[in-house]
Subunit: 193 residues, 2 copies
Amino acid sequence: MGDRRDVRARILDTAYELFCRHGIRSVGIDRIVAESGVAKMSLYRHFASKADLVLAVLDLREERWTRDWLEAEIARLATTPADRLLAIFDAFDEWFHHDDFESCVFMRTLLEFDDSADPIHRAAVRQLEVIRKKIEAHAEQAGAQEPENTAYQLQGLLMGAIVSATRGDLAAARRARAVAELVIDNATSSAAA
Amino acid sequence: MGDRRDVRARILDTAYELFCRHGIRSVGIDRIVAESGVAKMSLYRHFASKADLVLAVLDLREERWTRDWLEAEIARLATTPADRLLAIFDAFDEWFHHDDFESCVFMRTLLEFDDSADPIHRAAVRQLEVIRKKIEAHAEQAGAQEPENTAYQLQGLLMGAIVSATRGDLAAARRARAVAELVIDNATSSAAA
DNA sequence: GCAGACGCATACAGATCTGTCTCTTTGACG
DNA sequence: CGTCAAAGAGACAGATCTGTATGCGTCTGC
């Protein structure tokens, strides 16, 4: 096999898929080993522990989902700053309609690890903050009066929509988008008053 | 001990506390047995399996939280139908500020059990629907044009706020309340237009 | 070619988990 | 008091989990 050099990548890819789809605790090391076609000792050579692997997967999720996918979708779907905020909801609508919609691993992990001192819990919190900061930057560019507050509100809408989509509501993003319009109008128009 | 007759209640109480606080998978039967001071065989005499106990806890949560607590708070905090919708957010604000805020076991369970055919997953979905139906009834009484849509939107706000509170945002309910005002105004005032 | 690192395979340790079995004790009721 | 069902206590089975140890093949750099 020529993939001698990217054993670490194979492990990480498999763990990424499994953790994102099924959560952390319900996926065992043995399953990751089996599905990645790798020796268990190779996994523990590259990652000190399961927790270490989880943290690596959360970072990879930031790279692939938050940075590469979400930002690209926002840029693709909208041009003006105000449209960009709404485009997040359009992107989520597409996401929810994917056949293999896997829900949000950050929220899943946050709820699964309830100890706020746990590094895994903290990593999930941090990843949600990364997303909120991106929303806040867009809100600022769109002229929101209180970008931080608006970002909190919009992210709340997004997270609620994810839970709704996870229980099978495919219209969740569109419904949330309608609310987001009200929020954005209110946050930007109060300047004119 | 005089609590010979309510062994089942002691088990259920302990499981309720532990499952609601820490989730399902991270709480083992042994811990429930130890903390309820009951013999393991007594637990399995009253509940066929752990899954059975989980379903009983979800039902108990509906009774205690959804029916007894939430409805009572709504009635206590508001009198008019429109105020009642907003009172949900006020109740959540108090809930989030409890020292022992335990997050939402329905959402936690929904995300923890990703198989939509699993009875536990389905029970969590059903419990969230029960809550949405209650919101819908209040929305109808408040004169919303599309009570179902409004209920979906308000519940999305509530669920997003819960995630936010779980990551430590104590202002989540107040922020969501401000958005809810926009939603309710929009849903009820479009009749006048 | 050869040393050493890397990967595969697999057995294993030790913990934990669900669920069962057995034995003893206790309490309710006739 | 005697009976019987329920509860307590704890060992146990079997599965699964994380993590380690070992032995063997293979590729790479020198």
